[in-house]
Symmetry: C2
Subunit: 704 residues, 2 copies
């Protein structure tokens, strides 16, 4: 469909808002937004629309939209389902710029009437340019602009002091959005703006994501994703965020088979495979959250302040035990914990001889007896700039008024002297102590493992966003690839196409006589493989259509007859298109590369080692097409059995660069021809010794 950002400013930053189905009761769906907008300081004009009232919640009510004297940016539709379509039409007629439909009972019901009504709403949006959020959504909130265009209970809650701002949320589920907003508020984290996209009759999650990615006030975007009708749009939106270095934290519902089934029945959109989603996350540097709680923590980690991507991490802890748990967590998420240089260790020992001066640095419980100890430790460690970031575990001292100043004062001294130091704290606190710590621009977590895990993942994504070159542009190739829909090309025809696309394929000859086979064998060099060519015979070996290691020209002539006879006997009706000869490749490591066209995200390239690796343990990895050779090298590094390529037993390192170029070339080809090609299987692709390249020995392309 393509991303569509037009009208989104009117939707998310309206200066005038009409409420269709406005209610005098501030507890009702049609009454709540009015009360929220007023309580939360909306500076624009609010127009309640309801023919049965002259005044609603102290505001002049209008009988009809057309009675409103000015153009309306946003209309909120809170009328019963049967009245929704007419309401949307009236908005389009009145040149309203955007509507949000709270009402439910559309495509999410699965019934014909609801689905049809929603399609009609989509039509109006497409035809008139009216932007429609929902139906069946909780609306959107953008308190920077005083906008509470929602009936969510969260909007009547006070926002915490010291709201850091810039942590945005987009959710395909309204209830999940409200849960996250409230769970966030409870621990002092404010999601703003937040958007519930509902059934996405028009405005999609991808549109919202692109819109927020372009908003400089937004530091991080948290996303709850169930499915996507248009994977290309989502990729385009993620590409905008990636190019701008803006982190996206995402929880994906429907990872499992059971979850995916539940998602399919809950949403009208396609779910796609989890393998493809994981590939998407890696390529676009999306930070994947494991739960809503994790989503909130990660959003906080990114949104509280910008991170640099340095992994050298120091841990200062009041508990040796917690320090060990933090070292374990650091190892899990790729944070290094280099030791302190000896002279720094000596400085710390001078402060407190019983301290642990490795890394973790253990102040011991002494820090509550000696009010200066923590401060001195922080100063020494920060002065030496050994670490890119510091995580300080202070157990429970933030819970007790007699001890919390030890923490707050020491951190305050540290911040004064080192305004740019990257510091996070894990400790139990009162809400007030938490605010004091955060006011120092120091992140505050409770659990030490949670703190390290969140920081490590956020740092890794930050580094990826900063260092990785932009993704290759998506292309569309010349329409020179006649792969008829649903048909399977023969190995011979597939090989020709792949070779043209830059994939090295074994030399081959197609012959139509035994004599030609003999001379082809002589030309190619023996031993050769002799195979039947037939688009009707998918499994050539199963019909006796393949003879390997044919030792010479005479044997090749014999093999010619044999594969034809066998194939004809096994499949009498099969159209035989000749016999293929190619030299046997000796040495190297067998790999498999393949492309499948994901219903949501398009061509996805798989890479794995051949034989038992793929068959028994599915040791494979995926990327969305297209990708660069550098990305392909990362794929190779993700394979558990990679030592078979990097340091094969009894052989030299394989040509990984050629492998990477080939994977990348295949991905570009698959992307360009995504309208024509359903799948490509290259099995095996033999990776030869370093410098000797790769060679595809068998390949099949299937049309879409």
């Amino acid at each position: 469909m393509g991303l569509n950002l037009s009208g989104l400013q009117a939707l998310f930053e309206p200066r005038s808002i009409a409420i269709l189905g406005a209610s005098s009761d501030p507890a009702k769906i049609g009454g709540r937004p009015i009360s929220f907008l007023r309580d939360n300081g909306f500076a624009g004009v609010i127009y309640p629309v309801n023919p049965r009232h002259e005044e609603i919640q102290g505001l002049t009510a209008y009988a009809h939209l057309t009675d409103i004297p000015e153009q309306v940016d946003l209309a909120l539709i809170a009328v019963p389902r049967p009245a929704v379509l007419a309401a949307v039409r009236s908005c389009a007629d009145a040149a309203v710029r955007a509507v949000t439909i709270f009402s439910a009972g559309f495509a999410e019901t699965g019934d014909e009437e609801g689905t049809l009504l929603q399609a009609q709403i989509s039509d109006i949006a497409r035809e008139t340019g009216l932007r429609v959020l929902g139906p069946n959504c909780l609306g959107s909130v953008n308190r920077r602009h005083g906008v509470s265009a929602s009936f969510a209970a969260s909007e009547r809650e006070p926002r915490p002091a010291g709201n850091t701002g810039g942590i945005a949320l987009i959710s395909q589920s309204g209830a999940v959005a409200a849960y996250c907003v409230l769970a966030g508020l409870r621990r002092g984290i404010t999601f703003d703006p937040w958007i519930s996209t509902g059934n996405e009759a028009d405005v999609s999650l991808a549109d919202c994501l692109a819109y927020l990615a372009l908003d400089d006030d937004v530091k991080v975007i948290a996303v709850y994703l169930e499915g996507s009708r248009d994977g290309d749009d989502l990729r385009a939106a993620l590409a905008i965020a990636r190019d701008r270095g803006k982190p996206v934290v995402l929880v994906k519902a429907g990872r499992s088979e059971a979850g995916s089934k539940a998602a399919a029945s809950h949403t009208a959109s396609l779910v796609g495979s989890d393998e493809t989603f994981q590939a998407l996350a890696r390529q676009y540097h999306v930070c994947v959250a494991e739960s809503l709680d994790d989503l909130i923590n990660l959003a906080y980690t990114f949104g509280f302040a910008a991170l640099h991507g340095g992994t050298r991490t120091g841990v200062i802890t009041s508990s040796g035990g917690a320090g060990i748990l933090m070292a374990d967590a650091a190892a899990d998420v790729g944070l290094e914990m280099p030791p302190l240089p000896p002279q720094v260790q000596a400085q710390l020992r001078a402060v407190w001889p019983a301290a642990g001066v490795g890394n973790p640095i253990d102040t011991t419980g002494q820090l509550v007896n000696d009010g200066r100890l923590l401060s001195e430790f922080l100063q020494v460690v920060l002065r030496e700039r050994v670490f890119d970031s510091l995580i300080v575990f202070l157990s429970y001292i933030g819970m007790f008024p007699d001890w919390s100043p030890v923490a707050v004062d020491a951190l305050s001294d540290a911040r004064d002297k080192y305004p740019d130091a990257e510091i996070s704290v894990a400790m139990l606190t009162t809400p007030d102590v938490r605010r004091q710590v955060e006011a120092l621009r120091i992140r505050a977590f409770d659990d030490p493992t949670t703190a390290v895990r969140a920081l490590g993942r956020a740092i890794s994504v930050t580094r990826g966003l900063a260092e990785d070159p932009p993704l290759p542009p998506r292309g569309r190739g010349p329409a020179t690839v006649p792969v008829p829909a649903g048909t399977v090309l023969s190995e011979f025809d597939s090989a020709a196409l792949l070779e043209a696309a830059g994939i090295p394929v074994a030399p081959r000859r197609r012959v139509h006589s035994a004599a030609a086979a003999a001379s082809a064998a002589a030309e190619l060099g023996v031993p050769v493989a002799v195979k039947i060519i037939s688009a009707d015979l998918l499994h050539k070996s199963d019909v006796g259509g393949v003879i390997l290691n044919v030792p010479g020209p005479d044997a090749a002539a014999e093999a010619y007859h044999q594969v034809i006879t066998s194939a004809q006997a096994a499949a009498p009706g099969a159209a035989i298109d000749g016999v293929l000869l190619s030299p046997m490749i000796s040495g190297g490591t067998e790999t498999i590369i393949g492309v499948s066209n994901d219903p949501v995200f398009g061509p996805t390239v798989m890479f794995g080692l051949g034989g038992v690796f793929v068959e028994s343990i599915r040791d494979v990895t995926f990327r969305l097409a297209p990708f660069t050779p550098a990305e392909a090298l990362r794929m190779v590094s993700e394979i558990r059995g990679r030592s078979a390529l990097e340091s094969p037993r009894g052989g030299r390192r394989r040509d990984l660069d050629a492998l990477a170029r080939t994977l990348s070339a295949l991905s570009v080809y698959a992307d360009e021809h995504r309208e024509d090609i359903q799948s490509i299987d290259v099995n095996p692709l033999i990776v030869l010794g370093d410098g000797d390249g790769v060679v595809a020995v068998d390949a099949v392309i299937t049309g879409r």
Copy 2:
């Protein structure tokens, strides 16, 4: 050392407590326990000991321990390090039953003086029978008996109402113990008893674990473990818990290399390998926690009420989105979510036509508009008894006074009618609503994924504890195995020992002449393998000492000369002990089994597939010896490449029963001879087709 439970009752349920180094200041370490004991209702007698006061905190103070008129159960030692040893001696002299040493500065410092002092304390304990908790510990708390024998800040905090009790905690780190206790209190969970074991000069974590495992009031034991000086003791204590079906939830610090290094410098005890620890956890059905937060959640899940082990799980949710996340989490932790039978679906649809009636069952947000909807859904689902347990997600309605009755009333109706139903809830609540839910014997979590993950893992451990037969007893074999310390037995000698232990080994002959080789080949049947026998030549192949597939008697005679010549040329000094012939085994799947003697937990058996599986991807699994054939079958099922055994390409299923018997036999042998044997390598063990058994083709035993 052996578990030692004597005197632990005096330590943890004392009727009289003396405080050495008692202080009038209730904020000081020597003052706090007095104030805590009085505030928390200790019914026994408190004897402050301090020669400089006549009265301390309103109690008569005693100048010396010997002035106390009765025998003292427990003495708390809060004197400076230089005075500790004398204090311990005075306690032993006065026939005090147990002491807890708060003072620090012993083995944890790593300095010679501290280490020596601690050893002297251990000596006194061993010689006099005085039990010693600590030094360098936070003490122990057992509020059921009014005992706050600790200076932890947590003891001045009020306990929450509706304390469920029975959730015990043992920690090798005092700070971690206090953190967990306070983090628990903050969310309404009480750890009681809780024990900080510190440096474990005498009383070990294993002793405490066994003691609590035998206490019927304790429902679950949460453990923070850094290392264990005596793995056999820990295994013995875990075996007691396992036999009594008592769940142990454990967080292990030092899993990673960095963490393990930090642990080694923080504790005097050995850490052991993570692989061995994971094996221990599986065999003893220990529920492994991933963080302190997770430890607290899991302890709550077990301790709140007994679980049955049924995995059929129903999810009722007010948010379709959260339902999908819960289905994903259920799949991760092995919970099944069967669909509702059609007639039950119809009943739910009759209540609310827009409901999702699969599983997850989606009430939609309608439940806040229709106060009876949730109650009716619960009643229908519980009446039909489709599920073993029910998890209900209610988003944030427990936060709002106008909505929370919807939840509480419906759950209350459900509990009235179904007193035994296993129900848990995930929703944001006020503390008060949380208590109302828990008063209905319904677990209350916040995050839906966290709830499902905790329940799933707890249910799995519960099922394991209920269903698994007891572990085989540990044995000690007859001292008939002369494996000299540190030496390596030849393949021929190793094979003889393993065959005697019940491991099928390929037939073999040792010969000392070419003629004998020829006739041995004829006897064994050709082709044969011919190998040099020499304990000096570990890598026979590398010195040309192995010739495989020798086709006949004459060739065997030739091969005899060849392996001797090659070996002598490569290693002139090597003692050659003949030449070994054995028939080549054809068919089957190569596996590797091995034993290594873990410094903490003793012989550990590894199993994996041979060749690339072990070399490239380390597709292996571990168990502590000894174990049953049933446990061995579980090992096989954990291997990623198990299809090579279960459904090998082009072959029939392998003899898994024989494999399991062999693994078990090896484990029993390794356990019995753990004093003599350091490692055993059987590589390969060929697993033949079903019914044809297994055969070890090469093996080496190394002495300890």
